[in-house]
């Protein structure tokens, strides 16, 4: 493994409060303060002049569809999409086929993930078969290598089962990631309930169905002391519930997706299935509340909910299309646009939300450029404008609302454990 010098970039490392032009040194896959004269001699130099050098991005919410749905994505193609988007650590949801409710499936994912270009961490199910009826073997799953528990996409409906799940998982110091949705209120729902769903004649998903579960989880976290993380918060009321919970010192965290930051239900006017996801896009007031929540720390991090689906699966009537969009290759430019350009966040703040703060939720060894840490780096040009085309991308699927759109901010180089895995539009 060669030594690396990343030279002359704007080095932003929120974990060490660093933000200035300088060099980053890597030896033997780790960050070092500097290289010895001997190391310098055979070091590869990456010119980062005019570019931002930051920790590799961390996404604690992706779907890589392997095993079982590899026509949508594989661990390899998903990891390539991650690397192309500047992500070096990703956490995969367990709704594969079979679902990750047993140690064998964890082992399978880990064996494939070992050859992936980025760090891929599996999660396990809260309940057997994600059916919400019986606890999955959390201890065995952890021994096999999962980093968190979730029934993502199928929120545990029974309050009693959720209560026991968080109580049990706490013994292993495992965080529960919850997709907050009261199913009884969202049967057949395909978009936010409101003025737009009424006009379009589509079945509405009221934000109250999210708020109720967020409130439940806050109550259960306070009651048990267990850490519960709310996935993809979409509603202003849920943001407010989280704000109060944090003021009360309750052990809860939450994420927001780039699409809920950037888009609203107004995008659904033409029934374009590339804007259909669960939870759905909501109102402008909700969108603004999510941005405010990220600004004041009520919401902890960005997670993409990268959810690939094959083109023919999305090419149908709106009611029948599966939920979800891909997001790894567009997350950084979308967040730069919405948060930095339009809402005047400082760039280090946005990087913090996409690196250190995401990693901290699950205590992943990532999100910093500090000497001794694994050398995961994202180098990007914050000013480059480029045309995103899903067909030219790395994900196996093309279900993105940003297809054929101009984006500003482009990842130039991605380094994982000291090795360049992506550079100038190509996997290395």
């Amino acid at each position: 493994m060669s030594n690396l010098v990343i030279k002359g970039g704007r080095v932003i490392d929120p974990a060490s409060k660093r933000d200035k032009v300088g060099d980053v040194f890597i030896a033997a896959g780790k960050f070092v303060k500097s290289l010895t004269a001997a190391q310098k001699k055979d070091a590869r130099v990456i010119d980062a002049k005019g570019l931002v050098v930051c920790p590799g991005l961390v996404d604690i919410h992706v779907h890589f569809r392997e095993p079982g749905q590899t026509h949508k994505e594989t661990i390899l193609t998903g990891s390539q999409a991650a690397a192309a988007g500047g992500f070096t650590s990703v956490v995969c949801m367990p709704n594969t086929s079979p679902v990750v409710d047993n140690a064998g499936t964890v082992a399978l994912i880990k064996s494939v993930a070992a050859t992936a270009p980025v760090h891929v961490y599996p999660t396990g199910c809260i309940t057997v078969g994600m059916k919400g009826q019986q606890l999955a073997p959390h201890g065995s799953l952890q021994k096999a290598g999962i980093v968190a528990l979730t029934d993502d996409g199928l929120c545990v409906q029974s309050n009693e089962l959720m209560h026991r799940a968080v109580e049990y998982a706490k013994m292993f110091d495992l965080t529960i990631l919850d997709h907050c949705q009261d199913d009884s209120m969202t049967e057949k729902a395909v978009m936010n309930e409101g003025v737009v769903s009424t006009r379009l004649g589509l079945k509405g998903w009221p934000h109250a169905a999210e708020d109720i579960i967020v409130a439940r989880n806050i109550i259960l976290s306070k009651y048990t002391g267990a850490h519960i993380h709310m996935q993809h918060i979409t509603s202003a009321h849920s943001v407010e519930l989280m704000r109060r919970a944090k003021q009360d010192g309750i052990n809860v965290t939450a994420e927001a997706t780039p699409h809920h930051l950037a888009l609203t239900e107004e995008s659904l006017g033409t029934y374009d299935t590339h804007f259909k996801m669960n939870p759905p896009l909501r109102t402008e007031a909700d969108r603004r509340a999510i941005i405010a929540g990220l600004r004041d720390g009520t919401l902890d991090c960005i997670g993409t909910d990268h959810a690939p689906h094959a083109p023919e699966e999305k090419d149908c009537e709106f009611d029948y299309a599966p939920n979800g969009i891909i997001g790894l290759e567009t997350a950084l430019p979308v967040c730069l646009d919405v948060l930095v350009q339009k809402n005047k966040f400082k760039l280090p703040h946005v990087i913090d939300l996409m690196t250190r703060k995401a990693a901290n939720i699950l205590k992943l060894p990532a999100g910093t450029l500090a000497p001794g840490a694994t050398a995961d780096v994202c180098i990007f040009d914050p000013a480059e404008t480029w045309l995103y085309k899903t067909y030219g991308g790395f994900s196996k699927s093309i279900n993105s609302p940003w297809d054929n759109r101009q984006l500003t901010g482009r990842v130039k180089t991605t380094i994982v454990s000291g090795k360049v895995v992506y550079a100038n539009g190509k996997m290395v």
Binding site: E187, L200, E317
Partner: protein
């Protein structure tokens, strides 16, 4: 102004002038329906396929009748007999119909937005015969056609739409058509089926039957689509009837010269009592007849005909 639309997908996207063109063209066809020989050669040599993926009697028969009176060849099929039950997608089914040299597709589908989707994947005209809870444009056109026959100009006229608005494509298309034509629309019914979200579409929302009926020029009743609802929207049909059903006593609250409409199918004794449905104020069957003329107009214009001379073959 020439007609330029290839598809009839929604009332929402039509301008007031386009609605007027459709109504004027329907008027010309309506006069032809009075003749002894009603058939005209306007669409001779054209094939129209009625793709009905949701059950329908009235609308399908009406479209078939309209196509035949225009001398088009018409093929109708429904979901049960089609390949959709074998897992074929809507795109593939429709593209096959197009490849069979159909000149036009009339689509009825339970999924909102599906006619728009189909119009993007096909090269031939698509006519929306009802999509989910979204729109039913020809129904609204025949409704306003009938209202104008009875009341003349609709500007400032008070129209009450009473019943299950939430699940109704008829209500949505009528709201768009009536507001574009300057009518004052009030939607009435239980709060779960008439949510306040509709106010953004330019209508008044009321849950008080008597005051809403008092100054109405038109009372349009809608069926309670209990097959579409969960159990939670209202207690029972009996409760609906007791609170909102139009019976003899409540019909007294309506002005004597107001008309009573219903797109059908009617549920006698539920949303409307028989003596009201069959009363002289009821124009329910005239709506059905006018529906043929309106659908002739929609087919004719979208096939490339122009409003000024409906007797000229396309």
């Amino acid at each position: 102004m020439p007609w330029h639309r290839k598809h009839l997908l929604t009332i929402e996207e039509l301008s007031r002038a386009e609605i007027e063109q459709l109504l004027a063209t329907a008027g010309a066809f309506r006069r032809i329906l009075e003749r002894k020989v009603k058939k005209i050669p306007a669409l001779r040599g054209k094939t129209i396929v009625n793709l009905f993926l949701e059950p329908s009697t009235r609308t399908r028969l009406s479209f078939e009748m309209a196509a035949k009176l225009l001398s088009a060849d018409v093929i109708s099929f429904d979901a049960a007999s089609s390949s959709t039950s074998k897992g074929e997608t809507l795109r593939d089914t429709a593209q096959n119909i197009q490849a069979l040299n159909a000149d036009m597709i009339v689509l009825r589908h339970s999924a909102s937005g599906s006619p728009l989707y189909l119009s993007k994947v096909l090269g031939i005209p698509v006519i929306n015969a009802g999509d989910g809870a979204h729109e039913h444009p020809t129904q609204a056109l025949l409704d306003v056609f009938t209202m104008r026959e009875k009341l003349g100009n609709l500007k400032g006229r008070k129209v009450v739409i009473l019943g299950d608005i939430l699940f109704s494509r008829v209500a949505r298309s009528n709201i768009h058509a009536l507001t574009k034509l300057g009518a004052d629309v009030t939607i009435v019914g239980p709060s779960t089926l008439v949510p306040h979200w509709f106010e953004a579409m330019g209508v008044k929302v009321s849950h008080h039957l008597r005051s809403a009926l008092a100054d109405a020029d038109v009372v349009m009743l809608l069926r309670i689509q209990h097959e579409r609802q969960g159990v939670s929207h209202f207690p029972s049909l009996g409760e609906y009837t007791s609170m909102f059903g139009l019976n003899y006593t409540r019909a007294e609250w309506i002005k004597p010269d107001a008309i009573i409409m219903h797109p059908g199918p009617i549920n006698r004794g539920v949303e409307i009592d028989s003596d009201i449905a069959d009363s002289p104020r009821s124009v329910i069957l005239q709506q059905v007849t006018n529906g043929i003329a309106v659908r002739m107009a929609a087919l004719y214009l979208c096939a490339g005909g122009q409003p000024e001379n409906v007797l000229t073959p396309v």
